[in-house]
């Protein structure tokens, strides 16, 4: 490599001292394989990068030095027992809302796609209704359900009841929140699942039918795995938005994360650091969900491309390995890779 370095320098100055330039007429004398490639330069990229880096540095500097952030208080509460307990409540609301919402969503999507007109209309109406009602309004309805129905009974429809419960005993605040979140989530997930199912090529169902594969197995083994590719990115969006959306439940005095930090800063008056406690927890868990999404999507991508791209972790390992090889053997990365 070193022998080629002088070449671009000699080529650069146009013609102040023609006598010194060793080159003859262009293209002559030099063998084609000895010609040196001079990469084009991008000075504006450097300017843009420096400008953005300065803004970022200033922001970080502000985070560190502005006493308003009050990192001491943040550290004190970030892992406080009350905060962790509230975080656990948030996680529970998300899990119940997601699991129940998507379970109901699969049913609604199947009903919407079925050949039964009654099921189609009921499913359409449900989705229409629950997408029309703001979540907070719906949650307040569930919170006040005892005003409409004082008892809950299991028995013959329109006939005698076998068991009867007091609604206020059965439906706690937490329960009301879960029901509200799940029903709301079901309407959206039904549409996402339906979109995934109709995105599967009709030829797939035809082939499954022609092979005589049983109906249920057609759905779960042939259609769903292919539908998942279209469902997953949207479903992940929904789970993440539900996770953050649980903060709306704080209006019903349920001790989830956002409610809890409000309680604490209501007492101590340290609003900003406590909001940061909630913010950082939301970011951490959303990050974990995004990582999970990446690997689940990868799982369902089998067969969709000729070969799967490496995961970030695999990429990092390959890079480290080639770097170590270069360091130990002193050869260029590509050659070192071949040598192993």
């Amino acid at each position: 490599m070193s022998r080629t370095i002088p070449a671009p320098q000699s080529a650069a100055p146009a013609s102040p001292s023609p006598g010194l330039a060793p080159s003859g007429p262009p293209g002559a004398a030099v063998e084609p394989e000895h010609l040196v490639v001079v990469r084009s330069r991008h000075p504006w990229r450097w300017v843009a990068a420096v400008a953005v880096a300065i803004v970022v540095a200033q922001f970080i500097h502000g985070l560190v030095t502005n006493p308003g952030w009050d990192w001491g208080t943040f550290a004190q509460y970030f892992t406080a027992a009350s905060v962790l307990k509230a975080l656990w409540m948030t996680v529970q609301l998300t899990v119940y809302g997601t699991v129940l919402g998507f379970a109901l969503g699969i049913g609604l999507a199947a009903a919407r796609l079925s050949k039964n007109p009654v099921l189609q209309v009921v499913s359409w109406t449900y989705i229409w209704a629950f997408r029309s009602i703001p979540l907070i309004v719906q949650l307040l309805f569930w919170f006040n359900i005892a005003y409409l129905y004082k008892t809950l009974s299991i028995g013959v429809p329109f006939g005698p009841a076998f068991v009867e419960f007091d609604v206020n005993d059965v439906i706690s605040g937490m329960m009301a929140a879960v029901i509200g979140l799940a029903l709301h989530q079901a309407a959206y997930s039904a549409e996402i699942i339906r979109a995934g199912i109709i995105s599967v090529d009709a030829g797939q169902l035809e082939a499954a039918a022609a092979l005589g594969i049983p109906k249920r197995r057609q759905f779960f083994k042939i259609v769903m795995p292919q539908a998942m590719r279209a469902i997953l990115p949207n479903a992940a969006n929904e789970v993440i938005s539900l996770f953050k959306g649980t903060s709306i439940v704080s209006t019903m005095a349920i001790a989830e994360l956002f409610y809890q930090v409000q309680v604490i800063y209501g007492r101590s008056g340290r609003v900003v650091p406590l909001l940061m406690v909630a913010t950082v927890w939301y970011i951490v868990l959303t990050t974990l969900l995004s990582i999970g999404q990446y690997y689940i999507e990868r799982h369902y991508a089998r067969g969709s491309a000729r070969s799967l791209p490496l995961t970030p972790w695999q990429k990092a390992r390959t890079r480290i390995r080639t770097f170590l090889d270069t360091a130990t053997t002193g050869r260029t990365p590509t050659r070192a890779g071949d040598a192993r």
């Binding site: 797939q204 035809e206 082939a207 092979l211 005589g212 594969i213 109906k215 083994k221 067969g303």
Partner: protein
């Protein structure tokens, strides 16, 4: 299984009697009668829109016919006859009937998320409830036979069109079908890949598998077919051995079609 048509195992693998089919106001099949003997190769030719694919799809009940009967191996497809009434079979029963009729699509329709081996093994295990290990051994032998044994663990998208179609043929064979239906099996292939698929189909023909092939490959029909059927506008114009239908067609429409294709 065969409830109505008892034990009178017909000499025909497939019998089609007076079949009519209408899509909206368009009558695509206008009274089709066709018998296919066991072990014979029937090639159906005809211009597009003549109803060949619809007829083929009616044989395994992917299309429901309006009137007429279709029997495979003496067994009525899609219905059960009680006196002079035809009772529609349940979806489960139709699926069971289909699992003994092979079907090869123009676009292969392999399952892209399953490996080649899984594609072949799926239906014998789930539809015919056969032992998985046994089916896998048989599937590998079938893949060997169609020349893609080394691709057993690949995914369909990693294969060429010709290889995919040969896997689709192995998938149909794995069901040990009474008849295999081919719906333009080479129409989606690059010209240089057509030969390898036709070679596999020819090999099946020589082994005595009953085949019904809808195709535009006249040369294949001449070489392999026992019977050539020429369809146009929803009717069978003429049928007979290839040298008769292809070389000395009786009808003007057949003559025009063949001269245009050749």
């Amino acid at each position: 299984m065969s409830a109505g048509a008892t034990a009178v195992t017909s000499e025909y693998a497939v019998e089609i009697l007076g079949v009519h089919k209408t899509f909206g106001s368009l009558e695509v099949l206008r009274g089709i009668d066709l018998q296919v003997r066991r072990g014979e190769v029937t090639v159906i030719l005809g211009p597009s829109g003549s109803g060949k694919s619809t007829l083929l799809r009616a044989i395994n009940h992917l299309e429901r016919v309006d009137t007429g009967l279709i029997k495979v191996d003496g067994e009525l497809i899609g219905y059960r006859q009680k006196g002079n009434r035809l009772h529609e079979l349940s979806e489960r029963e139709v699926l069971h009937q289909r699992s003994s009729i092979g079907f090869v699509f123009q676009n292969f329709n392999l399952f892209p998320h399953l490996t080649v081996l899984q594609n072949v093994v799926e239906a014998p295990v789930s539809a015919q409830k056969r032992n998985r290990a046994e089916v896998e051994t048989e599937a590998r032998a079938l893949l060997e036979r169609v020349g893609v044994a080394d691709k057993a663990d690949a995914y369909p998208r990693q294969l060429s069109g010709g290889q995919q179609q040969r896997v689709a043929i192995a998938r149909a064979l794995a069901l040990r079908p009474k008849v295999i239906l081919f719906d333009e099996p080479t129409s989606a292939l690059d010209p240089e890949l057509v030969g390898e698929v036709l070679a596999v189909i020819k090999q099946l023909a020589h082994h005595g598998t009953t085949l019904i092939v809808v195709t535009h490959e006249i040369g294949f029909a001449r070489e392999v077919a026992d019977t050539v059927v020429f369809m146009d506008a929803g009717v069978i114009v003429e049928q007979g051995p290839p040298q008769q239908v292809l070389d000395a067609p009786q009808h003007e429409r057949t003559r025009t079609f063949i001269s245009r294709v050749l």
